[in-house]
């Protein structure tokens, strides 16, 4: 079965976790990547991070004793999912451009 489309929030979270980041860092990174368009709310991020850990797409790293903030990083499975989603999005963009005549 082909993978279901990811939500925008999940796509950007996976993209942000190429390096370990804590929750606030993810929100800031997603904001920067999307030029401020996507503003992740704390409750939405919390639910998404828990679901992604359960699915094995990201790992929760041991808590840093200095900052006492939990960091997350993408797993191999997560990378594969992200790549598949990128292919799906490319297909959408290519078809859109072909039919509407854009470049």
């Amino acid at each position: 079965m082909p993978q279901l489309a990811l939500t925008e929030a999940v796509f950007y979270i996976l993209l942000s976790l190429q390096k370990p980041l804590h929750g606030y860092g993810i929100i800031q990174n997603v904001g920067e990547l999307s030029n401020g368009r996507v503003k992740l709310a704390a409750g939405t991020l919390y639910g998404a991070l828990n679901s992604l850990v359960e699915k094995g797409w990201i790992d929760a790293l041991p808590e840093n004793p200095e900052s006492r903030k939990k960091e997350y990083v993408i797993t191999k499975n997560g990378q594969a999912v992200l790549k598949e989603e990128l292919d799906r999005l490319s297909e959408l963009v290519d078809n859109g451009k072909r039919i509407l005549g854009g470049n």
Partner: protein
Amino acid sequence: MRRVIHKIFWVWQLEKEQAWINEMASHGYSLEHAGRLTFEFEETEADLYTYKTLFLKGWADSEENRKYMKFLEEMGIKVVCFINYPGACWVYTRALKADYPDGIDLFSDIDSKINGMKAMSGYMIFVMAMTLFAALLNLWCAIGRDYFSPINFICSISMFVLFTLATIATVRIFVNMGKLKKERTIHE
């Protein structure tokens, strides 16, 4: 300077309560503690904080809720106080207005908004069932026996009023949830 205000908000008036607390904050009174009928404010500079009241399933000190509150603290959203009710808790949080100028929004997509509403609607159904049971029990005690009991009759009427208000609030939640579900068919 501390200011104590006695005020009642029912379980379905979470947003109204939050709007009132934020209005107090805009006048320089920041919430420091809330009880079931009492709100304690500390005089601070106006608009220093923005507040958000949360409904959470389970008690505030459950492992899951403690993890969630710790996560919120990492986001700069601090827990001011909480009140435990049977099977749920109300949590009063705040953040610096400078960090959250548009207020604290906990859900930024439709699915998480729907999940938040589902949890609230489940609890409201529980409240409806309890108030209806209390209303019917008091009604039976008032008129179902050999003598008429005015106290039970008044209690029964009060419970029916609460049941009706809870029902209206629950219907509103379901209507809003329906609108969001419809929206989700075309948008995320």
